[in-house]
Symmetry: C2
Subunit: 343 residues, 2 copies
């Protein structure tokens, strides 16, 4: 049987300095091989856009190896099985995985995250496919384990989260509310702040682009900050450090303000506040919790059905728009979980 | 009874910008009142010189309030009771406390650290008075609790300590050896490095002033760094961050390289290594462990008697030399615990 399917995909052509440009990518269309025994062919529906992607474009090992030049651009993905030679998957099954920015994925279903071959069947009668890319996917897992295991919020404590309207931040804030905390978001425009307060139930949300962040935080967190979940780094982290309480926990999830720097990362000048406050700053990588994703997903699915947890998903269209969609994360143009629909 | 005793003491006259100068201090000699009921008069023998003193000279609350202008300069002290109107203390008793840089202390024996009235009798038949200012005093307690409770070193792990030949660092390294770790010091001259390896039993010690610290650390810690006990901050902290292992613990005890800055503190540019390595950076203040000092002192006294724990003490002389002696800490001229003998 010969294939009549062509697969448009995006490869990493070169490593960016500062902001990625179209020259860093190659878009190509190739003939899609058919699945061999044990393989399934998946048609991509959604590609996930995540801040971490910028780091994967750099040379040098981070928490996972970089994308190799000439390789398909790594990405979280969701799609539907269109041909199956694997007993566990049937045509029509919806699956999530990490087969990268391309229209089709040829997968073995073997759990080998490094090779991107791992796929998981998802039940779209429980939640729509988008939710498996958001609250029930990596962003939700990152929020759940980062906040609960590392942040360890106690009822009555004040939890601050930056990137508050983003895929991770919005879930962090809602879980902190479920756990009985006072929750204050930090976001980059008033519409996002209003969303956090009015739709997600945050107690307050500070627009860091208007006025004095330190004063605004002080007003929103009169007793200081017990847990800070940081998605942005830079000046915002430094300002939060001036407001932490004794024994505060700072969860370092990301530093989106620094990813396109051509100068060295801005280290937190106020880190000695950790000393005076006997506080802790700790980095997290969601993959470490893979064994417990199922438990977390079940608990979060319950919260979704109880109406306690929701998340906005923003869908952009067209694989050709991959780069411009990715850049929306760094300019703050996204609202909630950002997906690219490629079909 | 009228007093015939005069008390020379040092007051904080003004707050320094950058390096403290003689203009920031007042030396005065006043008549020493006699103890009233419940008070003891202690003749100072030793004043402790500690890096934290520089922070106490600044305005603004740190982990304890600053020294107020016109107040006696706060300092750890040791001395001998010369008059007692307190049932728990007899003339001749040796005591330690925090009555500041002055020839005499008038104390109530009441445990009120904030007022500096707390004194503790020490038994100089167990260890010499100097040891109660060093290994069995605040530096030893800082090392003990900071390393064991916060650093949590496991046998076989690699522990790195900066300020390795200093009062805290030398104890950190020796306790880490007792706990079965590979221990690597960082110090500012070869004599100190030799001391750490040859006398204290460190596995290696790197002179950060010669050559490439990153390369030297890599050679000394081929498997990476599990625990870093930081006394210095600045570029050394940043370099260590490039060498930490998965789940590393960084204990922030101090940042002596930054205390006399007139520019903002240098934040660690490489702090995102905490993220990629799922590592932790945590600040400590020794006072938090006050309830457990006794237990720690007994264990450390045993180690001293078993010959596993020793510490060099450097004694300078004369209360007039207080400032020049203090500055030795910042220029690296001290070797081990630095004391000023004032009698």
């Amino acid at each position: 049987m010969s294939s009549l399917i062509s697969n448009t995909r995006i490869l990493l052509a070169s490593r960016p300095v500062g902001n990625p440009t179209p020259e860093n990518l190659t878009i190509e269309t190739v003939e899609q091989p058919n699945p061999e025994a044990g393989q399934v062919l998946v048609k991509t529906i959604y590609v996930s856009l995540d801040p971490a992607m910028r780091g994967w474009m750099n040379e040098g090992k981070s928490y996972i190896p970089p994308i190799q030049l000439g390789d398909v651009f790594r990405a979280g993905t969701a799609g539907q099985v269109i041909t199956s030679n694997h007993p566990d998957y049937a045509v029509g099954d919806y699956v999530t995985g990490s087969w990268g920015v391309q229209q089709f994925g040829l997968l073995t279903g073997v759990s080998d995250q490094a090779k991107g071959d791992d796929i998981r069947k998802v039940d779209t009668t429980i939640a729509p496919l988008e939710t498996y890319m958001a609250t029930l996917g990596m962003p939700g897992m990152t929020a759940y384990f980062g906040l609960l295991d590392t942040g360890q919020p106690q009822p009555g404590e004040t939890v601050v989260v930056s990137g508050a309207a983003g895929a991770v931040g919005s879930v962090v804030g809602q879980i902190a509310k479920i756990k009985g905390c006072r929750v204050v978001g930090i976001a980059g425009d008033q519409e996002k702040c209003d969303y956090c307060v009015n739709e997600l139930g945050f107690d307050a949300c500070v627009n860091y682009k208007t006025g004095d962040l330190r004063k605004a935080l002080k007003a929103a967190c009169p007793e200081g900050i017990d847990v800070y979940f940081d998605n942005v780094g830079g000046d915002i982290l430094d300002t939060v450090l001036t407001q932490i309480r004794r024994k505060a926990r700072i969860v370092i999830c990301g530093a989106i303000s620094q990813y396109n720097n051509t100068t060295p990362v801005k280290g937190p000048s106020n880190y000695l506040s950790l000393l005076t406050n006997r506080a802790r700053m700790e980095g997290i990588v969601v993959f470490d919790n893979a064994a417990n994703y199922g438990t977390a997903a079940r608990e979060m699915a319950d919260w979704i059905h109880e109406g306690k947890l929701g998340a906005r998903v923003q869908v952009e269209h067209g694989i050709d728009n991959f780069l411009s969609t990715l850049m929306m994360l760094f300019t703050g143009q996204n609202f909630g979980k950002l997906l690219l629909k490629v079909d």
